[in-house]
């Protein structure tokens, strides 16, 4: 009965999404439709809210299937039913959120057409093949494969499990292509393809091929940044699901399972998070390469304090994820026996200072600086046996936290505490002898320090569970709030970074090409942006919480049959 109710809900949501999409397509046919004025929020904020909500849902439904399939495969390989249960439970939430993605996607186009009709029509015309053919086809294909994947879970088990995993791989393939395709117009708005010499940008874009427009400067970096970001996001949302379920669990075995799931979700989230600063760096590098004036605009001018806030958020996420490892280790029996080479601690402490100096001498991407970095990291690995001095895991983690705080401090030190370079005075700027603290070598070193400490903590954790005994279900309850915090902070950061990316276009819909003549083309204050991002995050949380409760709390967790022996198709 419950299953039938859930299926009806899903179908209804799907139909609603489709109806909204068709409605928008019909609306788009109206010639020169006048723009409307959204009450209270204004047009820009209305688009901002709907677009951001859509991107958050889309990020989850594209990121989660990546680790869902990996989890299912691990469950099959290791014969550990927990992985299969994790994969299936996250898929259940994904299916609901998939409908929400379609719904908000349709709404997004609808609001965009109503508020910015001329520009939206222009964009659709320039990417007609994508918006009218490729994207809808991919979306339909993804819908079919997702439902096929979800509803064939019980039928394709045992010997047929491989086929089910193959469907999951296909789902990811379609999802990734969908992401890359839709990133074309999005990245184009930031970095429209450059004209060949002697031709104006306006003339060039009129005659440029679709591929020329898609394959712009920021397309590949944006694809990579979003792909990795989506996995991080999916991992932290899996952690959120686990936290909710742990809090509501009545049985010890459920608590043990959701404790484990929280750990795996966090591991996936943090694992992908380690690559994110570098993906972000690559993205920023390409943007600056496209137009060097973008760099000072975002780092030293109107968006500098947005980046300051972003730095604070990334620092907090690293602090939170390392704190979760600390709490996880506390429940490992025998953790006090785990020790680590003193050299690791020394490298950890030296890393930000040595690398700042090195990158100042040999700026990235000079291979000499990379060689120094590799040598530094290899010191504990190579010389640990020659220098047999060790320290306790507790000491390593505590020093690690000190370095995370120092890393955050370096990362967050701006050149000046000013909202724009034009307002800069010496009373608000770093002393000239210390200006290196605000330069890229110092920022890169800080990022590497955060990543290095996190990796060391995971190595310690790995040693702890090999040498000791892990007691699932007995984790400090604070850990559940840490998981909730990580998911919330990740979503908030995504919202802020999305705003930064859009604001980089300044007073243009398409940078340097299509000006935004509306009264709202200015940069909003950081405070206003924070209010908006918080509102969006809370709205998203409300829907996700609803999806978790509807899909998981409504059903009793059932034991999953191990996949070792052949099981008749359809067997429960």
């Amino acid at each position: 009965m419950k299953n039938r109710w859930r299926q009806s809900l899903l179908i209804m949501l799907g139909m609603l999404g489709l109806l909204v999409s068709l409605g928008t397509a019909a609306y788009a046919q109206i010639p020169s439709a006048p723009s409307i004025e959204f009450p209270y929020t204004g047009n820009r904020t209305a688009v901002w809210i709907v677009a951001q909500l859509h991107i958050l849902f889309a990020a989850f439904i594209l990121g989660a299937p990546i680790f869902i399939v990996i989890s299912e495969w691990l469950g099959y390989r290791k014969q550990d039913p927990r992985y299969d249960r994790l994969a299936k439970e996250v898929t259940k939430v994904t299916v609901i959120l998939y409908s929400m993605t379609a719904l908000t996607g349709g709404l997004f186009i609808f609001v965009l057409l109503a508020t910015y009709p001329q520009f939206t029509t222009w964009l659709i015309n320039h990417f007609f093949l994508i918006f009218a053919v490729i994207y809808p086809l991919l979306f339909i294909a993804e819908t079919i494969v997702l439902y096929l994947y979800f509803y064939s879970w019980d039928a394709l088990k045992g010997e047929k499990k491989g086929r089910h995993i193959a469907i999951g791989v296909l789902l990811n393939l379609i999802g990734t292509i969908t992401l890359f395709i839709i990133d074309g117009p999005t990245s184009f708005m930031n970095t429209p393809s450059k004209a060949t010499e002697g031709i104006s940008l306006v003339d060039f874009i009129q005659t440029a091929s679709l591929w020329d427009k898609i394959f712009n400067y920021s397309w590949i970096p944006m694809n990579l940044h979003r792909l990795v970001g989506n996995v991080t996001f999916g991992g932290f949302i899996a952690g959120l699901i686990a936290a909710y379920m742990y809090m509501g669990a009545k049985k010890e075995e459920d608590r043990a399972y959701y404790d484990w799931m929280g750990f795996v979700g966090n591991l996936i989230g943090v694992g992908a998070l380690l690559f994110l600063p570098f993906m972000g760096y690559l993205y920023a590098y390409e943007l600056c390469d496209y137009d060097a004036s973008i760099c000072p605009y975002m780092m030293a001018d109107q968006l500098s304090m947005f980046f300051e806030m972003q730095g604070a958020m990334v620092g907090l996420i690293f602090l939170g994820s390392n704190y979760y490892i600390w709490l996880s280790m506390k429940r490992v029996e025998g953790v006090e026996r785990v020790r680590m080479s003193l050299l690791t601690v020394l490298v950890m402490v030296a890393l930000p200072f040595v690398m700042t100096y090195t990158w100042t001498l040999f700026p990235a991407p000079d291979p000499k600086s990379l060689a120094v970095l590799i040598l530094l990291i290899l010191i504990p690995v190579v010389f640990a046996r020659l220098v047999p001095l060790t320290v306790s895991s507790r000491t390593v983690i505590k020093v690690g936290f000190l370095m995370v705080v120092i890393g955050n401090a370096i990362w967050m030190t701006p050149h000046g505490f000013v909202a724009t370079q034009a307002l800069s005075t010496e009373h608000l700027e770093l002393p000239s002898d210390w200006s290196w603290l605000a330069l890229m070598p110092a920022k890169n070193s800080a990022a590497f320090t955060l990543v290095f400490v996190t990796v060391v903590n995971y190595i310690l954790y790995n040693r702890a569970i090999r040498q000791g005994t892990i007691v699932w279900g007995k984790i400090d309850f604070t850990a559940q709030f840490v998981l909730v915090f990580l998911a919330f902070s990740m979503i908030w950061t995504m919202g802020l970074m999305g705003a930064i990316r859009s604001l980089l276009r300044k007073y243009f819909h398409v940078y340097n090409l299509i000006p935004d003549f509306t009264a709202e083309s200015y940069t909003p204050t950081l405070s206003y942006s924070a209010w908006t991002v918080t509102g969006i995050t809370l709205a998203f949380y409300l829907v996700v919480s609803f999806a978790i409760i509807v899909t998981l709390r409504a059903t009793d967790a059932k034991a999953v049959v191990p996949e070792g022996k052949p099981v008749p198709a359809g067997a429960k």
Partner: protein, 271 residues
């Protein structure tokens, strides 16, 4: 509690030491506060590390706990963002208006808006004339007829301010509107070595050469900026973003920069 007191004292002591050190090293007060903040953050982190385990929450208490937690985190994030310096959108609104004025006027909508404005102005003038005619009779009608029918020139014959304005001042305005200061230092302000200091550029380049450089950045290279030149750091976009009169004004402003005490690098012709 002992843990909290111990860590708080340690945090404050380290914070004060950092503030003193920052003061000695000539860091402005805002950075001294920032260093103190980091010391407190460190203390909070170590408090959390040694904090006792939390009692499990369930049911209604867990829901309340989550709501309170979300409220705290939201407040901290909004508060943190609001605490940082805020850019005033009003500053940018005027700037955007100036930058997009010509582009807006060139669009169909802009043309229609301009026609509407002119029609409105004419209508207002006609209404005023009618009122005067009605008030004073035939004499006023003659006086009223001397007003230009297109309504765009005041009776006093004053020229439009833009056309007769100070070209150098307009050029300086372009310097700010196009945010040249983000890359070029001038009068000791702005720039972070991305581009050369320009205080003495007029002693080294003629106005025509300056115009050529603005419109085609690859036409000239500043000595010592080979890497920046190779990477095409100066954006090749001003020929499309700027009106011809704006380029003229900017060049007029740059042509006044003759300060030999500043070592503006020698321009090298490349095209």
């Amino acid at each position: 509690m002992k843990n909290v007191i111990k860590k708080s004292v340690a945090g404050i002591v380290i914070g004060v030491l950092l503030v003193v050190l920052a003061k000695v090293l000539s860091f402005p007060p805002v950075f001294q506060v920032m260093f103190f903040g980091y010391a407190i953050l460190g203390a909070v982190v170590y408090m959390l590390l040694d904090a006792p385990s939390m009692r499990p929450l369930g049911g209604f208490k867990a829901i309340i706990g989550l709501i309170v937690f979300y409220a705290i985190v939201s407040t901290v994030y909004i508060g943190g963002a609001s605490f940082l310096p805020q850019f005033d959108p009003e500053d940018e609104k005027g700037k955007i208006e100036k930058l997009l004025k010509a582009k807006r006027a060139a669009t169909e909508q802009g043309k229609a808006e301009e026609l509407l404005l002119r029609a409105k102005a004419l209508s207002e003038k006609a209404d005023a004339l009618m009122a005067r005619l009605q008030a004073v009779g035939g004499e006023a009608a003659v006086a009223g007829a001397s007003v230009s029918p297109n309504g765009d020139k005041p009776a006093g014959g004053m020229p439009a301010t833009a056309g007769g304005g100070d070209l150098v001042a307009l050029g300086k305005e372009q310097w700010n509107l196009q945010e040249c200061y983000n890359c070029h230092k001038l009068f000791g302000e702005g720039g972070k070595k991305r581009g050369p200091e320009l205080d003495n550029i007029a002693s080294l380049m003629t106005p025509d050469e300056l115009r050529q450089k603005v419109l085609d950045p690859q036409s000239w290279m500043a000595d010592g900026f080979e890497k920046e030149y190779e990477k095409k750091k100066m954006p090749d976009k001003y020929k499309e973003l700027m009106e011809d009169k704006d380029v003229t004004a900017l060049v007029a402003f740059l042509a006044t920069l003759k300060n030999p005490s500043v070592n503006t690098p020698k321009p090298i012709k490349k095209k």
